[in-house]
């Protein structure tokens, strides 16, 4: 018999038993919807973090001073000043596996321009900082080798700082003052947005590392070094070279501990994914429970309707339906019901995910595999508990099916 005919019969049967169909679909909608929503949010936030770490720079290696042990009082990571501007030159000349290297000096300063002022992070960096950290210029230029060696009083503003100090005015060529020292603004950075930790990466002022170190700071405290490996495959080689060169430069003897620490993005990723992994696990557990609850809902409705359906099957058999006709009808009914419910579940799950993502500022990542798995699971439940009793009934004599309680 024609398939189109069975689809019509199945649709009619679904429409006829509206409440039951709706309750069955509800189970599927809840199961599929919550899985889609939770997994989309979980994976989305994970993707956010990975992307943010990637956006920190290309093949980035960060060198921080190791906490030193002075008189038994240990400072936190990066508190000592075992790194210096000389290290930058050493690495630039000797470490072949790195393409760029820059020092990083970090200060928190009150910055004044005309009659506005703003507290921000001042970063003293090398000429290649933009390439290492993947910043783009929106306007103007950046400083080069000459400005760095001359400790030039030039500054490049982040978007937030530019807005706070100059509002709609063009900042290029304007003067700002940091601790009474006047600086000329030579460029404005393109917007970069929030970092993982939620701080504003546009709330910075960049200036040559020498200027920051000698004109604004104590001339000693280099917060860290930033380096780019020539390629992602060369990261570990670059780290080995950096370690070797810095140990030589710092005159460390064999057996002495490194007085610095290296981190690359894969380590940052794995650190971050430890945190998000716990969250994802939790979300997945909740999603799994929802799917199970949905499945139990479908099961209940299907089981409860078995008696009524067995009578229906008896009637159909009595007027001449073959066992195969009944199976076709029930199979199509189960599939149509599950697909409709699955579709509504997917749509509402995505709706919830995007809604919540918008509110909480997380991106949403849709995993097609999860859709297939959750729809497949509910389909299996629906088919098993709907189709299996139908198959049993279809094998009965019509009279036995009609007498079923």
């Amino acid at each position: 018999m024609k398939w189109s005919k069975w689809i019509v019969v199945a649709l009619r049967s679904i429409a006829r038993n509206r409440l039951r169909s709706l309750l069955t679909m509800l189970g599927i909608i809840i199961g599929v919807g919550s899985v889609i929503a939770l997994v989309a949010l979980g994976e989305g936030s994970q993707a956010d973090i990975t992307e943010n770490i990637a956006a920190m720079g290309t093949n980035l290696i960060i060198v921080v001073p190791e906490s030193t042990d002075s008189h038994g009082v240990r400072g936190g990571a990066g508190t000592s000043s075992s790194l210096s501007l000389a290290d930058v030159e050493v690495l630039r000349k000797k470490a072949k596996a790195i393409s760029y290297v820059s020092a990083e000096v970090r200060l928190s300063e009150q910055v004044v321009a005309g009659n506005s002022n703003w507290n921000t992070t001042v970063q003293g960096v090398g000429k290649d900082f933009l390439l290492i950290r993947n910043y783009q210029l929106a306007k103007g230029g950046f400083f080069g080798e000459r400005e760095v060696s001359a400790k030039a009083k030039v500054a490049v503003l982040g978007q937030t700082v530019a807005k706070e100090l100059f509002a709609d005015q063009d900042p290029i060529g304007q003067r700002i003052r940091v601790r009474k020292t006047p600086f000329q603004v030579i460029g404005v950075l393109a917007e970069k947005g929030q970092s993982n930790m939620g701080n504003d990466q546009d709330d910075i002022i960049l200036m040559p590392s020498t200027t920051a170190l000698y004109r604004l700071s104590d001339g000693k405290t280099v917060r860290g070094l930033l380096a780019s490996a020539v390629s992602s495959e060369k990261i570990s080689e670059a780290k080995e070279q950096i370690t070797a060169e810095l140990r030589k430069a710092h005159r460390l003897r064999d057996g002495e501990k490194d007085d610095f620490d290296l981190r690359d993005q894969s380590e940052m990723n794995s650190m971050a994914s430890q945190v998000t992994g716990t969250m994802t696990l939790l979300l997945s557990a909740i999603a799994g429970v929802s799917l199970l609850v949905g499945g139990i809902g479908i099961m209940n409705i299907m089981l409860v309707s078995v008696t009524e359906r067995t009578r229906e099957i008896g009637i159909r058999l009595a007027v001449g339906a073959r066992g195969g006709d009944i199976l076709c009808q029930f199979l199509i009914e189960a599939v149509v019901l599950c697909l409709c419910g699955g579709l509504i579940g997917i749509l509402s799950g995505l709706g919830i995910a995007f809604g919540l993502g918008q509110i909480m500022g997380i991106s949403v990542s849709v995993n097609p595999l999860m859709i297939v798995v959750s729809v497949g699971f509910t389909l299996a439940v629906g088919v098993f508990f709907g189709f299996y009793p139908a198959r049993k009934a279809a094998n009965l004599n019509p009279i036995e099916a009609l007498r079923h309680e």
Partner: protein, 234 residues
């Protein structure tokens, strides 16, 4: 060829230790174009006999030839096709699909008809069958919106819709008033005059007098079997 030939049909139901011999060695030949009534006390095996004749249930032993075919040896789907194309069955308990209009209930056998039958023609035949039982104006009502007698007539219409060669009706007038009973009997006599073989179960001698032949059942056996003299016409 005789449409129905039963030889030594037995059917036993077991409920725990007790055995009920619902049919106990029934032998019965029905002539083509016969109109037969089955009477007998409640529990004497009338419905069981009808179910066996209608290929809805199978006998434990004995042989049954339906239009020359050995029913005991047929496959399930062949029995389905016989029920669909040769037999019209009216259940004692109606057995209509709930939440389904009278028209769709009557169309149900046509849904399983193996062959081309366009939807428009299906509707037309179902409408005609409903007209024959006087329910044309209740076509779109669902079973729970119909009286017992009306439901019974929908069940009769469903048995007529596939133009069967044999109509088996288990107390088709049990819920009808005398006026409608006469209408249904007139319909059956009319169909019988066209050559359709009809077997009906009844408790009312009045109804039995409208048929050509009566058998009386008792404890699963045929007790009496006689021709109706002076058949009444409805």
């Amino acid at each position: 060829m005789q449409p129905i030939q039963l030889k030594n049909i037995c059917k036993t139901f077991r409920l725990g230790d007790t055995e009920v011999k619902a049919l106990d060695g029934v032998c019965l030949d029905i002539e083509p174009g016969d109109f037969m009534a089955v009477i007998g006390a409640s529990g004497s095996g009338k419905s069981t006999l009808m179910n066996v004749i209608g290929c809805l249930d199978q006998a434990d032993s004995g042989s049954y030839l339906l239009e020359g075919r050995p029913v005991g040896e047929l496959k399930k789907h062949q029995l389905s096709d016989i029920r669909n194309q040769r037999i019209g069955f009216v259940f004692q308990g109606f057995n209509l699909l709930p939440r389904t209009s009278a028209l769709e209930n009557v169309m149900l056998p046509l849904l399983y008809y193996r062959g081309e039958l366009p939807a428009a023609q299906q509707r037309q035949r179902a409408t005609k069958a409903l007209q024959q039982v006087g329910l044309a104006d209740r076509m779109h009502h669902e079973p729970n919106q119909l009286s017992g007698g009306q439901q019974q007539r929908v069940a009769i219409a469903r048995a007529l819709v596939n133009d069967p060669a044999i109509i088996l009706a288990d107390e088709p007038t049990g819920n009808l008033d005398s006026r409608t009973t006469l209408d249904v009997l007139a319909l059956f006599q009319n169909l019988n005059d066209q050559g359709i073989t009809i077997v009906l179960v009844t408790h009312e001698t009045d109804v039995a007098e409208h048929t050509r032949r009566v058998i009386e059942m008792q404890d699963g056996k045929i007790q009496r079997d006689f021709k109706v003299e002076n058949r009444r016409l409805a």
